[in-house]
């Protein structure tokens, strides 16, 4: 819990930045737009319609779609001479801004339309210009309505901003995503409570500001305005300070499962130890989002798997016979096509494998995938979010002729619980998962050799390769450093023993750098060797 709370200032600040920027832009766009379309029948319906349609897009999808959208604009932008980042805060802010617009826009239109026509006649009668009419009569009278919309938008945006994590923007969602994956309930709880607290705080600040304005309580207005302005100035200052503070950190990405969180920490801490460069970990990103981000130098390094690159990036099907040969082909392809360097193979494989409960497999007499295919029509299979969309699954279906009674996509962490509880019969497991042993699962043999080798490989982006040989060298130091047993042990320490990925990574690197005799003692203590002992 204390570990989690140490992360709070950073996550909260990043979350606040996203929300405040999105809400400010959302308000500055929506209120004038609302005023402009109010009462113009031809414009009002279409504008509100578009805003409603945006609102109906699931928020996670809206955030996710910004990434390819911005990526496709990146070329245009660079031609115009500026750089457009398609992952990170920019797509998050754009999506959140769009998301904030409907309530503000709709309430502005309603508020302006509800102003008594007699008051408008009076306003003109006393000699107001159209602008004075708007600023002195229409807007003040519509203010409570507009503020109600702004408050709705605030609560939505603060909540939705937790979904910016998968597109590379740090937020309170980092707690929630990594907490769910690593079954760290206190992290999930901290994330939820902090987001709820932030939403309530901002909501009340705006309420106090509005009531203060309406009832002319100077102290209320001034107090709330100072706090809100302070938040804006504070976040703006930290943004500027962040970008001005020397060299940017080396950014390490991670996909959305435990092994990736641990490996991202291993990479980050290795770089810190060897080069003293600051690092930043962007966890819980989608698999292809990560590769695109690396390609465009929006992250600097991450760990992928040779078979994934082979199947989803190179889109090849015919497998080379040999694990080493595949690695060489991937290395050559990434370098020539993208300028991405395959820095090191970590030394273990994490293949997709189909797994069943030992007892169930025994009862059905199953050892291989060919045998599984025969009984598949009576069974249900569960896979992570990507699995059924992946080329490997297509290849499995094509080769073995799988036809399951039902295919169910679910969270990777829940998948193991589902198979253990007998809710699905087969799952797409990862071969390094600590839970294969702990849950009594059997991996079925890929007897026709469809699933490619999945060597864990450290990939470095073009910028890092060009500009930071020291970092590359540090990463190369990890070559062959982790065998499947160590990886499984580390996964288990996080998934089942409830330890933090950063802590497990720290223990691993410390043990590894110690002289052999102390190393064996430390590893003898196993998962219990606490971070305080290794510090």
């Amino acid at each position: 819990m204390r570990d989690q709370l140490l992360l709070l200032p950073g996550y909260l600040l990043a979350h606040l930045q996203l929300c405040l920027v999105a809400l400010a832009i959302g308000t500055l766009v929506s209120v004038p737009l609302g005023v402009w379309v109010a009462g113009r029948r031809r414009l009002e319906a279409p504008v509100l319609g578009v805003a409603s349609v945006i609102q109906t897009i699931p928020s996670l999808a809206l955030l996710a779609v910004m990434v390819p959208l911005l990526a496709s604009l990146a070329g245009v932008a660079s031609a115009l001479g500026f750089q457009l980042r398609s992952i990170g805060p920019l797509p998050a802010v754009i999506a959140l801004t769009l998301y904030s617009m409907l309530p503000i826009l709709r309430n502005t239109v309603t508020g302006i339309a509800a102003v008594d026509p007699a008051l408008l006649e009076a306003a003109r009668g006393v000699g107001m210009t159209p602008w004075q009419e708007l600023l002195r009569v229409e807007l003040p009278l519509a203010l409570p309505m507009i503020v109600a919309g702004l408050r709705t938008a605030t609560v939505w945006v603060v909540g939705t901003a937790t979904l910016s994590t998968p597109i590379g923007a740090t937020s309170l969602g980092n707690y929630i995503f990594s907490g769910l994956q690593t079954r760290n309930n206190s992290a999930v709880l901290v994330g939820c409570l902090a987001a709820a607290g932030l939403a309530l705080t901002l909501d009340q600040l705006i309420r106090v500001l509005e009531v203060g304005l309406r009832t002319r309580r100077r102290a209320w207005t001034a107090g709330a305005a100072i706090v809100l302005l302070g938040l804006y100035v504070g976040t703006a200052f930290s943004l500027i300070a962040g970008s001005a503070a020397g060299r940017a950190p080396v950014r390490i990405g991670a996909k959305t499962f435990t092994e990736q969180y641990i490996l991202a920490e291993v990479l980050a801490q290795q770089i810190q130890r060897e080069t003293g460069r600051p690092t930043k970990t962007l966890a819980s990103m989608g698999s292809t989002v990560l590769f695109d981000a690396l390609r465009q130098d929006e992250i600097d390094a991450y760990v992928d798997y040779s078979g994934t690159i082979w199947a989803t990036i190179m889109k090849r099907h015919q497998l080379p016979r040999d694990r080493g040969e595949l690695l060489e082909q991937v290395r050559g392809y990434l370098d020539s096509a993208y300028g991405i360097r395959l820095v090191a193979a970590l030394g273990f494989e994490n293949t997709y494998a189909l797994a069943m409960r030992n007892r169930r497999a025994q009862a059905l007499g199953l050892h291989t995938l060919s045998q599984l295919a025969r009984v598949a029509p009576g069974l249900e299979i569960g896979g992570d979010y990507e699995f059924f969309q992946r080329a490997e699954w297509a290849a499995l279906v094509k080769t073995y002729g799988f036809h399951f009674r039902e295919e169910r996509s679910m969270d990777a962490a829940l998948m193991y619980q589902a198979v253990a509880a007998g809710e699905v019969d087969v799952i797409s497991a990862y071969s390094t998962d600590g839970r294969i042993a702990s849950q009594g699962l059997r991996l079925l043999e890929d007897d026709r050799g469809v699933i490619p080798p999945y060597d864990a490989i450290v990939l470095a982006g073009p910028r890092l390769v060009r500009e930071e040989p020291g970092v590359i060298a540090a990463l190369r130091g990890l070559a062959g450093a982790i065998d499947a047993r160590s990886m499984r042990r580390m996964n288990f320490a996080v998934d089942d023993a409830g330890r933090a990925p950063a802590e497990v990574a720290r223990d691993f690197l410390t043990t590894r750098n110690q002289p052999p005799e102390t190393a064996s003692r430390a590893s003898g203590a196993g998962g219990v060797s606490s971070s305080s002992a290794s510090r």
């Binding site: 008594d116 007699a118 008051l119 006649e121 009076a122 306003a123 003109r124 009668g125 006393v126 000699g127 107001m128 210009t129 004075q132 002195r136 009569v137 003040p140 009278l141 309406r214």
Partner: protein
Amino acid sequence: MIVLQELTKRYADGVAVERICLEIDRGECVFLVGPSGCGKTTTLKMVNRLVEPSSGQVLLCGEDTRQAVPFELRRRIGYAFQQVGLFPHLRVGENIAITPQLLGWPAARVRARVDALLELVELPPDEFRDRPPGALSGGQQQRVGLARALAAEPEVLLLDEPFGALDPLTRDRLQQAFARIRRELGVTVLFVSHDMVEALLLADRIAVLDAGRLVQVGTPAELLAAPANRSVAELLSTPRRQTQAVESLLGGAA
């Protein structure tokens, strides 16, 4: 002071006001009367350009109002109407202060003017200045509306049934207050009313409109003595009959 020349307003579905000519002298109070839809409100609003004339013109102190900037014109002309339209988010004093503030009067002069006007419409300033308009009775709101129209010391006042929708007692008191204020300020007034008694009691001259045309203009006595046609006579018949009925009742009681 005010000259209407061939003033006409056409809408897509017909003519609202047709070629009205009328001259109003400085300090005079002229009533526009006639049945509903006869064009009296439209005529009034063409004077301060809340409605733009289709043709014809309005001269104000000999100056063509088409040459003026509309909002500047309106700041020189007081305007009060039946719905009053007091701004609910402003206090009574602030409602009255609007036009002087728009004209950039110094704050001290605005304050003094607001208090003087509240006195004039018989609302004690210390009691009413800081009240929200919503807390006022209908009659009090009409008084504030009149004060607001007078705020920037206009030479011309346009009133569109300013005492409508009030109970008879309040209405009578406000009419008497209005007569007194007009005498004190010497302001020129164009007054729209559908109440003939009000017109007969307060007007210097009455202009009778029917279906967008000016039918007759004259003093109350002239109209009573020689109505130009049947419709004018009908308008006058109600007050005449009521007066006779009241007189006979009074005679019977004496």
